[in-house]
């Protein structure tokens, strides 16, 4: 069992998300950094989409009640296993009774923990992601609390230490131009690109709210349409919202841009008051960036198998 001694600011069970139910109003949920989920699972030879724990901001503490090979990915939240520092991008072995703790960091917001074989969970609507708004999926449909415990199969063999390079988390986010730019005041998209944006402390897993000194005010209204994680909405206040995994399935604000799939993971690490900059790119470049991430996984898989 993995016992939750302290849940910290927030910890929840997430996988790469829930698909196929958006027309019923069911959001994607899932890890803000699905790539980190895949890496954490690959490090342990798990199926890549097994559910992991997403630790937000840190200050969490877990206890392994039996031996366990586990992996840590995502941002560095100054984790320690049995009082020894451990680092994201590596797999480790915990003996029965070992305690895993997370500190905090000014530069990172989220870390991911997977265990060999995955946690024992029942999928709901084909996913083990926690729908935090609607209270289903994951562990009892909610964030983890102290006193909870998650079951896993005890590891019989201690695996060697193994690491993988994680693609960097940058402040530069590539975007595609949105469909409503020609309805918005002239140069709104250009002004969005030119200035730096500050992440508001009101940001959460539903969306990252952005602030700046010269907001992009407007009075344009559009008909409600389907939206999804990555879409950048522009409310009349002129402060854009980047929709993230827990966002609603429909929205009525003009769509200014969309963050490319490969860069959406960057929002998993933006904390309050951090700055980010948007860079326009083409559809071909967006696809190439996704392919590059897939190639990264494939290469690691191959390298790992060759070394076994």
């Amino acid at each position: 069992m993995l016992k939750v001694n302290k849940s910290g600011v927030m910890a929840s069970v997430q996988d790469i998300g829930r698909f196929g139910y958006r027309h019923y109003g069911v959001c994607r949920s899932g890890a803000l950094d699905p790539f980190a989920v895949c890496l954490a699972n690959l490090l342990l030879d798990n199926p890549v989409h097994k559910a992991v724990i997403e630790i937000t901001i840190g200050l969490a503490e877990f206890e392994f009640t039996s031996a366990c090979n586990f992996a840590l990915t995502g941002g560095c939240l100054n984790a320690k296993l049995a009082d020894k520092a451990i680092y994201p991008g590596w797999r480790y072995y915990a003996s029965a009774g070992d305690v895993l703790t997370f500190g905090t960091s000014a530069h990172a917001q989220r870390a991911y923990v997977s265990v060999e074989g995955g946690f024992e969970l029942t999928p709901v609507l084909n996913s083990c992601a926690t729908d935090l708004q609607s209270h289903f999926g994951g562990f009892q449909g909610r964030a983890l609390n102290s006193g909870d415990s998650l079951n896993y199969h005890t590891s019989s063999v201690k695996l060697n230490t193994l690491g993988v390079k994680q693609p960097p988390y940058s402040q530069q986010v590539r975007v595609l131009k949105g469909p409503h730019c020609d309805k918005l005041p002239a140069n709104t998209f250009e002004r969005f690109i030119e200035q730096s944006w500050r992440v508001s402390e009101l940001s959460n897993r539903m969306g990252s709210r952005l602030l700046c000194d010269e907001p992009l005010n407007h009075e344009v209204s559009i008909t409600t349409q389907a939206v999804h994680p990555g879409i950048v909405q522009l409310p009349p206040s002129g402060e854009p919202i980047v929709l993230l995994n827990d966002c609603q399935t429909t929205g009525g604000y003009p769509i200014l841009a969309s963050v490319i799939d490969a860069d959406l993971r960057l929002f998993s690490q933006f904390g309050a008051n951090q700055t980010c900059q948007f860079v326009p790119c083409t559809l071909a470049e967006a696809r190439k960036a996704s392919d590059k991430l897939s190639a990264h996984l494939a290469q690691f898989s191959l390298a790992k198998n060759n070394n076994n």
């Binding site: 698909f19 196929g20 139910y21 958006r22 027309h23 019923y24 109003g25 069911v26 959001c27 709901v124 609507l125 729908d131 708004q133 609607s134 289903f136 999926g137 595609l176 949105g178 469909p179 008909t223 409600t224 349409q225 389907a226 999804h228 990555g230 879409i231 609603q248 399935t249 429909t250 769509i255 969309s258 490319i260 799939d261 559809l283 967006a286 696809r287 996704s290």
Partner: protein
């Protein structure tokens, strides 16, 4: 000239959008028929209708150029009567503790509570789309006499099953949540259960009739 256009939203989402904000009934039926045609193609992970558009998430985004054109063809070929809607009867207790805004709505519409209930039940509604919460269906159209803007101060907690109205729409809260709609009554139906298949009682395009129960205003 066509009454719709298609575009790619982000990398994976194909959108067919009508050139008008408020579709006619024939266009509305055609949108649901289009959803069904897209579903039959098995090329999409999710197909999400909204007020005057359909967004379909491609399983293979490399096919987007084909689909940008093909969705327009499908739209023009769609028969607006091809869509066969399911009808749900929703038994509702109006007024009293279950419909705390019924009195206020009646006053603002210069009607009696009974007239409001009669008007609300007189209509066959259609699920235009779902959103906001899982299983939360936007039901059009509310009779003109009952159309009011949303409440200026949303409630922090609207009870599960609340039957509500705002603007030109009606809705039922599938679960307890905050909300700014006017509450007329409450029903006992389970609208969303993630352990059911499908999880939502209502699907886009379904027809809804409200039936007043004797326990309340009727």
């Amino acid at each position: 000239m066509s009454d719709a256009h298609s575009y790619l939203l982000g990398e994976n989402a194909l959108v067919l959008s009508l050139n008008v904000n408020a579709p006619s009934q024939a266009q509305q039926r055609k949108l649901f028929a289009l959803c069904a045609a897209l579903k039959d193609s098995n090329a999409f992970i999710d197909i999400v209708p909204a007020k005057s558009s359909v967004t379909a998430y491609m399983a293979n985004p490399n096919d987007y150029q084909y689909w940008l054109k093909h969705v327009m063809l499908l739209w023009h070929e769609c028969d607006d009567f091809a869509f066969d809607a399911k009808t749900h009867f929703i038994e509702t207790i109006y007024g009293g503790e279950f419909g705390p805004d019924l009195n206020d709505v009646a006053k603002r519409a210069c009607l009696t509570e009974r007239q409001v209930v009669q008007l609300h039940c007189s209509q066959t509604y259609q699920v235009e789309f779902l959103g906001f919460l899982p299983g939360f269906a936007y039901l059009g159209k509310l009779p003109c006499e009952l159309q009011l803007p949303r409440k200026t101060k949303p409630r922090k907690l609207v009870p599960k099953g609340s039957v509500a109205i705002a603007e030109d729409l009606s809705a039922i809260y599938p679960n307890q949540s905050p909300g700014g709609w006017h509450l007329l009554g409450r029903c006992q139906h389970t609208l969303f259960n993630p352990n059911n298949q499908p999880p939502s009682l209502f699907a886009p395009g379904d027809k809804i009739k409200f039936v007043p129960l004797k326990e309340g205003v009727c």
